[in-house]
Symmetry: C2
Subunit: 421 residues, 2 copies
Amino acid sequence: MQGLYAIEGNLAFAPALGELTTIPRGYIIVEDGIVRDVCKRLPSGLSPEVISYGDAIITPSFCDLHLHAPQFPMLGTGMDLQLLEWLSTYTFPLEARFVDTAYAQRVYRKLARALVRRGTTRVCMFSSIHREATLVLMRELERAGITGYVGKVNMDRNGPKDVLESTEQSVEETRRFLDECGQYAHLKPLLTPRFVPSCTDALMQQLGDIAREYPDVRIQSHLSENMEEIAWVKELSPDCAQYWQVYEKFGLFKPHTLMAHCVYSDEAERAAMKRAGVWVVHCPDSNTNVASGIAPIRKMLQEGMQVAMGSDIAGGAKLSMTDVAAEAIRVSKLRWLFSDKKEDFLTVAEAFYLITTAGQAYFGAQPGFGEGEPLHAVVFDDSRFVHEPKKSLQERLERLIYLSNPSDIIAVYSEGKKAAL
Amino acid sequence: MQGLYAIEGNLAFAPALGELTTIPRGYIIVEDGIVRDVCKRLPSGLSPEVISYGDAIITPSFCDLHLHAPQFPMLGTGMDLQLLEWLSTYTFPLEARFVDTAYAQRVYRKLARALVRRGTTRVCMFSSIHREATLVLMRELERAGITGYVGKVNMDRNGPKDVLESTEQSVEETRRFLDECGQYAHLKPLLTPRFVPSCTDALMQQLGDIAREYPDVRIQSHLSENMEEIAWVKELSPDCAQYWQVYEKFGLFKPHTLMAHCVYSDEAERAAMKRAGVWVVHCPDSNTNVASGIAPIRKMLQEGMQVAMGSDIAGGAKLSMTDVAAEAIRVSKLRWLFSDKKEDFLTVAEAFYLITTAGQAYFGAQPGFGEGEPLHAVVFDDSRFVHEPKKSLQERLERLIYLSNPSDIIAVYSEGKKAAL
């Protein structure tokens, strides 16, 4: 929407970890898609067009910093298996299908729409090994109004033939991918070695070279998700005492590198991440579903690490980040119990911070509805719930985190534009 | 619906723990609401009216054996607190409001509708201390087509004044409740001492007397949910070595007694339950949300205990039993991990069994769509999901357990009648 307008509703956002600001019937003033002000009442002398959402709740839209786009068709299936078995039985055969770009387009159009309908407007995403399908994914995301980063997966060992590339092919396709993906305004590429067991040292070496050549291109991968995986990495890279050192050795462990999971990252590994400026992506639903464990999220936050959150579909069964936030709270309560109540569980305000403010920071955006930045927002109509006795805005936000369905979302703004739901 | 008809669709049910029977495009033949046959094709010579649900999935409807009706208005709120604090801050003040029967009717009408819309047709439910509101609850459930058991809560100590009764009042109101609730065809009363800390020995004694007087009236309560609660019970009843013995001492621990939670029931307590014919109601979402723990569900099943499942709203945030089943699987995977992989996690087929067949048995119904019994069934339209690559019926059922919303349910049958959604 062009020109000056104001969005009216109950505003809620997390200025810092554990803090929640609510503005009952407040306004976000927007000009040409850019937030100009967030206020309790319209400034005198200003009479913008007002889009009133009445008693609805408006929050920043959500950030999903780790998900596997080609696994969308298997969402909520195959969950009786553990990580490595689940990969070979379900995941790899499905990912192999994305050599077919027509299939990719059908799936990715649905995925993009499903993300927007759940209020997710910023993503960091794994595609498959297929360059063409990855470009299709970026096109479909852009078309739906989603912004962020997408990576063509690199994988030259330990998988069935049809999801593997040769080392040369993997490097060459990655370079072509970097050349060809400049056409999208709001989607950028990521280097994406799947994880250490999937990439030979030769491939990692050359991805490290590319990373040095393209210093602005960020990196995403997996780290310390599962005990068997960690043991396997140790076997594959006996020269590295810890998992993270494999990535570091090849120049892939640097500021803005995203490492999904980190369930078993000990103090040393966490300190290395912090030192390097690497981000943890906490994927609680996935870590439970594939029976990996519970990440030490409280320790990470206390140590001042950069932590954001991911749905990790289809290891995670929930695409909605409000659902993922609720699962993060749930597992943190179990971790609190099993740590003899030493590691405090996540509060609702903290989980909300992780799916909004923390993720926004990865994209260089300020907390809340950042002034001077394009509007990213979700509008929830919670009128279907019981409102007697009257709830505070904080309680209503909590209820949305625990209970909302996509049908409760009545509007989504991304990059200053209203998205089609 | 009267007369002879057949329901057509993809049938799925759990004949036994861990077993799943699927009948693609099968038929349930019903006469005057009673199931006559479940078959792959219509028997020759029989030409009933066919209600075809096409490619939809039809399962037995769900059983929720533990929930607190008056806590429905707080669903999904107050979750940052633990059990005892949560009771005093949120639960008791809300329950006190149900002295107002007009308020009770507004809430209970919504609750009954919400249950049916989620495919739950059989329940065992706590009301509040209020006899009149409890009768309102039974009326609203019956009106919506829900069957089962409802208890007026007994509580004469350790709570704010407005949710406490005197011992005499509690006994007298319970007797009146038993006399007055005979008017409902499909809802029966339960004796409901809230839990040991809420009931004096004098009250327990007299409830035991009533139980002997009315041998057909079943009993429900809570057991070994939380470590602080268990310690408190030990203080209150120093003569009982274990929590369950307090119920036994007063004659309340007998066949069909329902004990919610049993998170910390050790071998001796579990053996006592089995011996007495007492049922465990596993409430995984609640046990996580109020940070109680993870019940040893695998051990209970292996020991041959009678186990069913409950939403336990509003400790549980999820009213839908498919959501509760998914949470049961999730926490069982964490228990598997923390038991050093000794206690196997629940499979999808097992969790599905627990919300259907296991609960049905409590109501005296056979597994599946029991022949000779009134039809209880749910019809799911899963066409909104991605079906490419093609999924097995088992996978589609799994996906519904992980992902379905009330809007996926297109028909519900209870006691042989189609319910209004």
